[in-house]
């Protein structure tokens, strides 16, 4: 299947596609047992993984609910992210930040337009998209 391989290898090289970073603040996210891993459950794409923390440095210890620092939430599958922002809405500690850098917009081109669409329809859609983008926090434009 070329689905995601195509998406990653070919298009990122061209800067046609946005780049995503998922950051979990380690100091704020110290008690993942309290919130029942809201990010892990709510994410439709399975971006977040839960590790047992000592396992990262090598030795495995049994999970213990009384020792919350044994766990570590990471956004290690960040390229899967679609930018729906369900995780930032549901996180009680505001520990998650998602940074999206959108690709460069060339003059006279509409990056949101797909190959069959007429330019007039694409421009109408672009206005709606710009309204949406203003609501996101971590969005950057090159």
């Amino acid at each position: 299947m070329i689905g995601r391989g195509d998406y990653m290898a070919i298009q990122i090289k061209n800067k046609d596609i946005p780049v995503i970073r998922v950051k979990v603040d380690r100091e704020k996210c110290q008690l993942p047992m309290i919130c029942d891993y809201q990010c892990y459950i709510k994410c439709p794409q399975g971006v977040f993984h839960v590790h047992s923390y000592p396992n990262v440095s090598g030795a495995y210890t049994k999970p213990d609910p009384n020792k919350p620092k044994n766990y570590l939430v990471t956004g290690s599958a960040a390229p899967k992210c679609t930018g729906c922002m369900e995780c930032t809405k549901n996180c009680p500690e505001d520990a998650i930040t998602i940074e999206i850098t959108l690709p460069e917009i060339k003059k006279g081109e509409n990056p949101y337009k797909h190959p069959f669409e007429s330019l007039e329809v694409a421009l109408e859609n672009q206005k709606q998209i710009e309204k949406l983008d203003s609501t996101y926090k971590g969005l950057k434009k090159l």
Binding site: G3, I17, I41, Q45, C84, S118
Partner: protein
């Protein structure tokens, strides 16, 4: 549908529903006007584009099979040309019904993909899986040597029942756009496809050729409502749904989803929701 429904519908801004924006170009055959208005025209006309696109696609597929480094470059070049010759887009059932409403004349025809892949010609009216749209279909009727099964002319009600029948059986509805040759799209058909038969689905998933582009919607999955009946896994033609058998739930990969809505129609628990692709900052670049 009445005018009010048509204009104030949520999906009224789909590109093919504003027919007045491209109808001017559809049957436009005047070469002088074409040369003035259409700046992207290639020398030699449409025949040159078709002649250039075919070998490029063949080269790219060879490069993929030989694990050649030039594959991404060749495929990108092929994609640029190929949308001018032929292209398809995935539709939901409701969009397919709306497309039938605004087009005439319409007729049932046999599926070309199934003919050249498996030698299976749908001669019977009840087994035909393609719908030809527009006056280009008169040509289909006139050359029986090539178009073997001919054209079966139908009215809109019959075509609507026919689409619903194939959707229930699990086939995906794809719109066929026969090129941007004269400056605008020419919508010539509505196909009912499945993975092994359809040439464009196979080419897209295996080689990444954008003969088939993704639909306007995307399926978003709610894991809390999912009970693990796995009905949707059978229905997906694009391999976007993975079954987690141990935890009794399903995961839908939104970047592989084409937005056909087959999985949503079979889910009894409301765990799958179709959303607009343009609402997601990542997916709106990924056609």
């Amino acid at each position: 549908m009445c005018d009010v429904c048509f204009t104030h519908n949520e999906s009224a801004k789909l590109w093919f529903k504003d027919a007045k924006r491209y109808a001017r170009f559809m049957y436009h055959r005047n070469r002088v006007d074409q040369a003035k208005n259409n700046t992207t025209r290639i020398k030699g006309g449409t025949a040159a584009i078709e002649a250039a696109a075919g070998p490029l696609v063949a080269q790219a597929i060879d490069a993929y099979n030989l694990k050649d480094d030039r594959f991404p470059d060749l495929m990108r070049a092929a994609n640029r040309l190929h949308t001018k010759v032929q292209g398809a887009q995935t539709l939901t059932l409701q969009d397919a019904l709306d497309l039938i409403d605004i087009s005439s004349p319409i007729c049932f025809i046999h599926c070309e993909c199934r003919k050249f892949k498996f030698g299976y010609v749908e001669r019977d009216r009840s087994k035909m899986t393609c719908l030809g749209l527009g006056i280009g279909m008169y040509r289909w009727e006139r050359t029986p040597a090539r178009y073997v099964a001919g054209a079966e002319w139908v009215d809109h009600d019959e075509a609507r029942e026919w689409v619903i029948k194939w959707n229930k059986k699990g086939l995906v509805q794809n719109l066929m756009n026969f090129g941007e040759r004269n400056g605008g799209p020419y919508i010539g058909g509505l196909c009912n496809c499945s993975r092994p038969d359809c040439a464009s689905i196979e080419m897209r998933l295996r080689y990444g050729e954008k003969q088939l582009i993704k639909g306007e919607r995307v399926a978003i999955h709610n894991m809390e409502k999912c009970t693990g009946c796995f009905k949707c896994v059978k229905r997906c033609q694009f391999g976007a749904i993975a079954a987690d058998i141990r935890q009794k739930r399903v995961q839908i990969d939104a970047q592989m989803c084409f937005g056909c809505g087959l999985c949503e129609s079979v889910c009894e628990f409301g765990a799958i929701e179709l959303k607009n692709r343009r609402d997601f900052p990542i997916l709106r670049y990924d056609w």
